[in-house]
């Protein structure tokens, strides 16, 4: 049985780890190298680093930072932010990245998903979705450019298209739940994970250990992204895994 994954997420702005609140109000957290080291020691199953300003500010991906990180990191590393072309992916892979997360560029140019999957395999392509409930509260819409632009594209339709085009995983963010600590958007999570056949990573809103359990047991997530709870030292990955084990969720110890 494959273990459910606990993935710390480092949002990066100008080389520093930050924590946002519904994609605004960035609080500095610390040095990415130190945080990756801490979380790897603590039992992280993977690390995701997202440069949250790269796309809005039209910068290139943070290849230099990744190059510093990879020689001493021995778990999979996924990098997102500012990836627009196969060349950007080449540069990140050459720096030692294992997977890339694409969001805005995939929405603008869905063929990019297939291009990357053909070159590096589907396991390398994580399609990141920034979802926000629409005003009728009936469905969710995809936002791009760090949550700034409403594309009007339906999240469920897009998740299925991303899979069909070769995505290996879906990273599902909720703009509504982000930074609230009130739990993942379980309805959204369940809707997406029951529609696709690729792993879905739950993101945004974790505040308690029970929220994390619910993402797996109710939302059918394959992995969870955790940021604030770990950054603020409210808990540790070891403590999360111990709790999940007691609740009957398979994790790597």
């Amino acid at each position: 049985m494959t273990a459910k994954r606990i993935i710390p997420c480092l949002d990066i702005a100008n080389g520093t780890v930050v924590k946002g609140n519904q994609y605004r109000a960035l609080t500095p957290i610390g040095d990415p190298l130190k945080l990756v080291r801490r979380y790897e020691q603590d039992g992280a199953d993977e690390i995701i680093l997202l440069d949250i300003l790269a796309t809005p500010d039209a910068q290139t991906p943070m290849t230099d930072l990744i190059r510093l990180l990879t020689p001493s990191t021995f778990i999979p590393i996924c990098v997102g932010g500012g990836i627009r072309s196969l060349d950007d992916v080449h540069a990140l892979m050459d720096a030692g990245t294992d997977k890339v997360a694409i969001c805005s560029a995939a929405l603008e140019n869905p063929a990019l998903i297939t291009t990357i999957a053909k070159q590096y395999g589907s396991q390398c392509v994580v399609v990141s979705i920034d979802a926000k409930q629409d005003t009728t509260r009936k469905t969710w819409l995809c936002f791009s450019h760090g949550g700034r632009t409403n594309t009007g594209i339906d999240v469920l339709t897009w998740a299925q298209e991303a899979e069909a085009r070769g995505a290996g995983e879906i990273l599902l963010n909720s703009i509504d739940a982000d930074g609230t600590g009130k739990g993942y958007d379980i309805k959204l999570l369940k809707a997406v994970s029951t529609r696709v056949h690729i792993p879905v990573i739950a993101s945004s809103g974790a505040g308690t250990l029970a929220h994390i359990r619910d993402a797996f047991s109710v939302g059918h997530a394959d992995a969870v992204l955790i940021a604030g709870m770990l950054h603020r030292r409210e808990t540790t990955i070891q403590a999360i895994k111990q709790f999940l084990l007691e609740e009957g969720v398979t994790v790597r110890c």
Binding site: M1, T2, A3, R5, E40, D45, T70, P71, S72, F74, I75, P76, M93, G96, D98, Y120, G121, S122, Q123, C124, G168, E169, H197, I198, P199, D222, A223, R252, C253
Partner: protein, 203 residues
């Protein structure tokens, strides 16, 4: 010197990084003389089977690998696609594999509830004694997997570990000097590090 064979597929530096962390030197190369001079070999790889065989052929590496592995019995560790290339053929492609092990590579055919690729941390349970699992016998060893195809060994004696994912498949084989691992030791933190250390020190 351990040689990591560079045939232009996959993330080779991460293997070298882990080997360095363990305290050994290695060389990433496709130079035939350097491969001849190697004490042991790692065949890494992420990607498609035919691309892998095509690149090995283009680089003129097939005959040197046959000589060093089959005649000179140098230890070789194939990782992920590298493991699959050691088999005779794959359902992923049309080209013949290296055929150093009596096995074939097959596509997972699983119930709909199992997602493919098989991705994430899974256990590999040894079913025979091996120096690769020194100091790892009394624990549950979880490794990082990411693959859609798996190796089916003709001789059960060759099977070193099995892993459950919808079905039970061969996650490692070991036949004399020829070893394959479907998972990525270089991404498997402490478990992967101990396994690579055992390969470096005990073979």
């Amino acid at each position: 010197m351990l040689v990591i064979i560079n045939y232009n597929l996959g993330n080779l530096k991460s293997i070298q990084n882990m080997i360095r962390k363990i305290g050994f030197e290695s060389k990433i190369t496709n130079n035939i003389e350097e491969i001849r001079g190697a004490t042991k070999l790692i065949l890494p790889g992420v990607g498609a089977f035919d691309n892998g065989m095509h690149n090995l052929k283009e680089l003129g590496l097939i005959s040197v690998l046959e000589k060093e592995i089959l005649e000179n019995k140098k230890p070789i560790l194939g990782i992920c696609l590298g493991m699959q290339l050691l088999t005779k053929k794959s359902e992923e492609g049309t080209l013949s594999g290296l055929g150093f092990i009596d096995a074939e590579t097959k596509l997972f055919k699983l119930e709909n509830t199992y997602k493919i690729p098989h991705m994430g941390w899974n256990t590999a349970k040894p079913i025979k004694k091996s120096k690769l699992f020194s100091e790892m016998e009394n624990q549950e060893n979880r490794f990082y997997f990411v693959h859609s195809y798996y190796v089916d060994c003709s001789n059960t004696d060759d099977i070193l570990t099995v892993t459950k994912y919808g079905t039970e498949f061969v996650s490692m084989f070991e036949h004399e000097n020829i070893i394959g691992a479907q998972f990525h030791p270089e991404k498997s933190h402490k478990f992967g590090m101990q396994l690579l250390k055992n390969f470096l020190e005990n073979y």
